[in-house]
């Protein structure tokens, strides 16, 4: 591969990314960091958990993404009586023209490129776990038969942090399958004014597809593959490993402030999947910066989004009001020593 082709590939990625971001930003007012994080996770091949109060634009962001990418989009509203088959699909008895009957698999809403699981914590753990196989292996198994999901497959789940009654906390295994967790902040007054002006008119703005429909899936897969080609040197891998180890109580052996807080407030640290999320997110960051290789700063940029939902905090942390993002930021400061 010649340098010119590689340079062109990076430029293509940057242009596509910027175009999608700009198109989403036309409709979604504010939330630029969240949009960038969601796009980063998408091109990194992961899934995103979005947490925000109702009415803040979670669904709008996901729908805008699907429309901008020109990919198929399904939405699943999770409720307490939602069953796994309602997500994955089920087999039904079908009458054939010749009078016979057969079992036919009817795909569920998960068979789409972009799937929005709205308020995922309202479903029972059994239903939530229906997503596990799909998210990890991009396939579902119904009645002993496995069905491959179409690529790209991208799950965005939303969480409502205030209405906790009648909700089920997501199991750690499922949380770990989300590449990033993105928090949607309440919009500022200016942004709120713009939202009012843009959404209460007769013809509200709509997202224009960036990718051609017949090539959208292929193009996104090419771009995701390009991300995987980004070079990661061993010293960066060591840094990521050290960073993840520092989030675990067993790995935080020093006497520094971060290590002390980790031992005090964290019950379980990030998993190896968290390290993979760091590297993949850092690769996207490197491409966005026009580089063919990952640096420490790329890792640092995605660290909070990639690790905050992987830390299982202790009761002491809840009592003290310590949030996982605080721990991750402390760990980042301590991990800079690893660079030396």
């Amino acid at each position: 591969m010649t340098p010119a082709i590689a340079t062109a590939a990076i430029a293509d990625f940057q242009e596509t990314f910027a175009a999608i971001r700009a198109e989403m930003a036309r409709v979604v007012i504010g939330h630029e960091p969240a949009i960038e994080a969601i796009l980063t996770a998408f091109f990194a091949g992961g899934h995103v958990l979005i947490e925000g109060v109702p009415g803040i634009g979670k669904t709008l962001i996901v729908r805008s993404l699907a429309e901008a990418l020109n990919l198929t989009f399904n939405r699943v509203q999770f409720t307490v009586d939602l069953m796994p088959a309602d997500i994955t699909g089920t087999r039904i008895i079908n009458d054939r023209p010749d009078g016979g009957r057969e079992l036919v698999f009817v795909p569920g809403p998960i068979f789409a490129h972009v799937v929005l699981g709205d308020e995922i914590n309202r479903a029972t753990p059994k239903t939530q776990s229906a997503l596990l196989e799909a998210m990890a292996e991009h396939q579902v198994t119904v009645a002993g038969s496995s069905y491959r999901l179409q690529a790209p497959f991208f799950v965005l789940a939303t969480l409502n942090p205030i209405e906790m009654e009648g909700t089920y906390q997501l199991p750690e295994a499922q949380l770990d399958r989300f590449l990033f967790k993105v928090l949607l902040e309440y919009p500022s007054e200016q942004e709120l004014t713009r939202i009012l002006a843009a959404t209460t008119i007769a013809d509200p703005l709509t997202v224009r597809p960036v990718l051609a429909p017949e090539r959208a899936a292929t193009r996104t897969e090419e771009l995701k593959r390009l991300v995987r080609e980004v070079l990661v040197a061993p010293h960066v891998e060591q840094y990521v490993a050290g960073l993840v180890r520092l989030t675990t109580p067993a790995g935080a052996r020093g006497d520094g402030e971060a290590e002390t807080e980790v031992r005090r407030y964290v019950t379980y640290g990030a998993s190896p999947r968290g390290a993979q999320a760091l590297v993949l997110g850092a690769k996207v960051m490197a491409l966005l910066d026009g580089r063919p290789h990952v640096t420490y700063d790329d890792v640092d940029k995605v660290a909070v989004s990639a690790l905050r939902h992987r830390l299982v905090m202790s009761f002491a942390a809840e009592a003290a009001g310590v949030v996982p993002a605080h721990i991750v930021e402390r760990v980042l400061i301590a991990a800079r020593r690893l660079r030396a």
């Binding site: 591969m1 340098p3 590689a6 080609e229 980004v230 040197a233 010293h235 960066v236």
Partner: protein, 446 residues
Amino acid sequence: MPELSPTGAVDVVERQVRRVRRRKNLYELQRTLYTTVAAGAGAATLLLPVTLFASTTAFGLAAACMAALMLGVAMLLAGALRRRWLGRAHAVRWVEAKAALGGRVQTLVEIAPRARNAPQFFQALLASQVAAELDAWRPQRLVPRAVPRAAGASAVVMVAVLIVVFHLASLALPTPPAIGFSDRPHGGRDERSDGGDGAAPGERVVVAPGVPSTGDTDSGQATDDGRDDDSRLTQLSSAVQENVRKQVWGKAWERVRDALARAGTSGGGSRRDGRAASEDGGEEGVEGKLEGTEENEWEVARRPSERARGAADSSSDHTDGTDGADGQGDANSNADDPSAGSSDDADAGDAGGTTAGNGASPGDLFAGAPVMPGAGSGSFELSLAARMRSDRSGRKRSGGPAPDADPDARPALGTEQRRETAAHRMAVPAAYEQVVREVFAHRGTP
């Protein structure tokens, strides 16, 4: 720069990293070396005056402190060199940090082994970017100076200061004590300096009749010396001090040291110097006597009027086959009892002999006990029969008018006496000893 293949770029990068590493390490070595030289020269500059002018104890303390200080400095410098030394494993990282290359060079070098097995999509691009940046981190740019200026300048300055101090020190040779004569017992003190005129009593030696020593100072010194003799460190520091003085002051110092040794003065350092010299060169004659018993410490110089009679005693002693020590014992007894001495002197005068006062007896009185050749420097010593002593309590030079001389009892002797010339010590073969003694002996009036 022509476009390089990834493998070629890695080779180029590794070569340049080696050059950077070599230059950087050479620079650090020089810095450590120059700093060490500067520190050593500074320590020597501080220690040289102490070595030359201070007592052995002070020199020993100063040398020990300076050695500890230099050890600490050496450890600090070694630690600094270890921290700054660019190892092979850290060279690329140092280049990255120094040149702010964004991790390209380090990534290219580190992924090279992987890329050999599985070609990387972006490796060629990375190689081309690194190749384009080679000039940004060439050795001359990362380590701009081949020589550490500050360390080098400090080394030059400190060595120059040391040379200047050495030169100044060589000019500051201590003056030997002036020797005066008196027929009155002064207790070893120069009356003129005791008169409160602010003169320096320690540099004037008075040859005078001795008095028995109460000897607090001397006995104390003897105790100190006895303790010092047990200390090899003290002997070592004394030897080092003496050696440095010889190096700085050369032959001049040997003359001063001998004079100081004869005077038994100039403080503990000179006394030990004399002893060190005697250990070194076998010069036990004068210093050994000075460090001896209390009676020997207080040697007596005869009055001019008594010298002729003393000579008779000496002649009789010589005739009886007694040695010089006996003569000294007589002299002491004379000093202790002047009246007895007078009667003895009268008898001696009748005998008409000559003695140590005018140097008529070379074998026992003038020349003293011979020093056998081959013991040390190969010279023997023509010691003065009249012992010299100076004030040990101060270092100020004596001043003021000289004391009035006693009337000459026998002026005729002066006119007939040969002019005295300094008898310098020199190496003489043992076979010529008798001849030399004969030549340099004063012949009394027959």
